[in-house]
Amino acid sequence: MIYLDQAASSFPKPESVVRAVTNCLLQVGANPGRSAHRLSLQAARLVFEARESLAQLFGVSESRRILFTSGATEALNLALLGLLQPGDHAVVSSMEHNAVMRPLRYLQESRQVAVTTVQTDTSGRIDPLDLRAALTSSTKLVVVQHASNVAGVLQPLADIKRAIGDIVLLVDAAQSAGAVPIQFDREGIDLLVFSGHKTLLGPQGTGGLILRDGISPEPLIRGGTGSRSESDQQPDFLPDRYESGTPNTPGIAGLGAAAEFILKQSIETIAQKLKAQAGQMLQGLQAIPKVRVVGPGLSDLVLPVVSFVVEGMAPSEVGRLLDQRYQILVRAGLHCAPAAHTTLGTFPQGTVRFSAGFFNSSAEIEEAISALREIVLGSS
C-alpha cells in the first residue's frame, strides 16, 4: 500500500510518537495539573514539555503563548470568532480552506463583519500588494494560509507582513508547520494556527494557536482550568484562559514527541526532502499525456502536494482505480477548499491530489506515477 494522502493526515507516525501516546495511556493516565499527586504532575509535565518543544520548533520565546486545541479548525474558529467584532473588516486570500471561509461567512452573515477576498494568480500565489490594496480603515485582520492543501504553493509571509504593516496577521500553517521553517517571534506573525496531525507528524485531535503578546481573542470555551478554583470566572492568564476542560493528554504527549522528532531531524533536512519529492511528483505527472497539473510550476513548488485533472475521467474515478487496482491512496474532490479550486480553475469537478510526506520514498512516488500512467493510457 502506498499512502499519498499526507495532506489529509500524515501516516505513519514516528515510532517515538506512538510510544509517547502508549506510554501516556499505560503509565501516566491522570488528569494533568488538577490533582497534587505524582501522576497528575507527571501528566502536567508531559503537556508542559510538549509546549516547550513546540516553542523551540516555532521560535516562540514564551511557551505559554502556545495554546492547545483539538486541531487547526478549532484554533481558526478561536482566532476568527474571538477577534472579529461587528463593524470589523477582514481580508482573506482566494485560496483558503473552509476552516477559514466557513467561520468568516458566519461572521459576515451573523455579526456584521465585512470580508474582502483577494484573488491570487491562477497558480494560487498571493500578491502582497493586492492584500495591501484591499485594506480599509476598519480592517482588523488579514488571514492567509502558509501553504495550500490543494496545490502546495507557499505564500510569501515576510512580504505579506511588510505589505500590510500594523494590521494583525493570522497565518494558517496547517499544511506547513513542521515542514517549512517558521520563526514566529522573528517573522512578526501575530497569530499562527497549526495542525498536530499533518506535517507535524503528531496524532489526530491535536493542534493549536500561537498568540503574540497583546493579541487576546475572546475564549471559545470556558470551564474548569485547575487554577483559581475558588472562582467561577475564567482566568485571564495564559495558557489557562484558553484551555478549559481536560486536554487530549495522550495526543499532546504524542505531539511533543513529534516536535522532538522534527527538531532532531532538523526542519531544514525535512524541507529539503519534501522539496525533492515535490519536483519528482510534478515532473512525473506533467509527463503523462492527458494529465493537466494545476498550481505553481517547479520553481515555486515547495511541498509535495500536487493536484491534477485527467482528461475524460472524473477525479473520483481516478482515485478509485488507484486504490482498488494499485493500493495507492490519494484524495479526489474539492479537499474542503472550494475557494482554492475556483481560483485554480477546477471548480466544481475538483482534482486528484497526490500528497507525499517525510515517510514516503521516491520509489513510492515513482510507482504512483507509473500506476497513474497505466490508468490514463488504459482508458483511451
Binding site: L41, A44, R51, E52, S63, S227, P235, D240
Partner: protein, 89 residues
C-alpha cells in the same frame, strides 16, 4: 533536606510552576512541588518549596521564574532576614 529552613514560591498557574521547576533543576537548585497551603490564597494549587539557603541564587532568576509571592515555608523560620551579597562585592 529535613531540618533546613525553606521558602515557598507561589505561581499563577501550573505552567509557571513547572517552568520554574525545570529552570531551578537546570541550575542545580533543589526544589520540590508541594500543595499550596490552604491558608494562603493562590491561583494555583501547587507551589515550589526551595531551601532558605538558596534564596540568593533565586534573586537573579526572578524575572524568568515569575513567582507571584515568596514566603517562609514550614515551622522553621530564620530569626533574622537574610540579605544577599551585592554584585560589586
Amino acid at each position: 533536606m529535613t531540618g533546613q529552613s525553606r521558602i515557598l514560591l507561589l505561581f499563577q498557574s501550573i505552567h509557571q510552576v513547572l517552568g520554574a521547576e525545570k529552570l531551578l533543576k537546570g541550575q542545580g537548585i533543589w526544589c520540590d512541588l508541594v500543595p499550596t497551603p490552604k491558608e494562603i490564597s493562590s491561583n494555583c494549587g501547587m507551589s515550589l518549596t526551595v531551601l532558605e539557603s538558596d534564596r540568593c541564587r533565586l534573586e537573579p532568576l526572578k524575572e524568568k521564574l515569575q513567582w507571584t509571592s515568596m514566603l517562609p515555608h514550614g515551622s522553621e523560620r530564620t530569626s533574622s532576614s537574610s540579605t544577599c551579597p551585592s554584585n560589586d562585592a
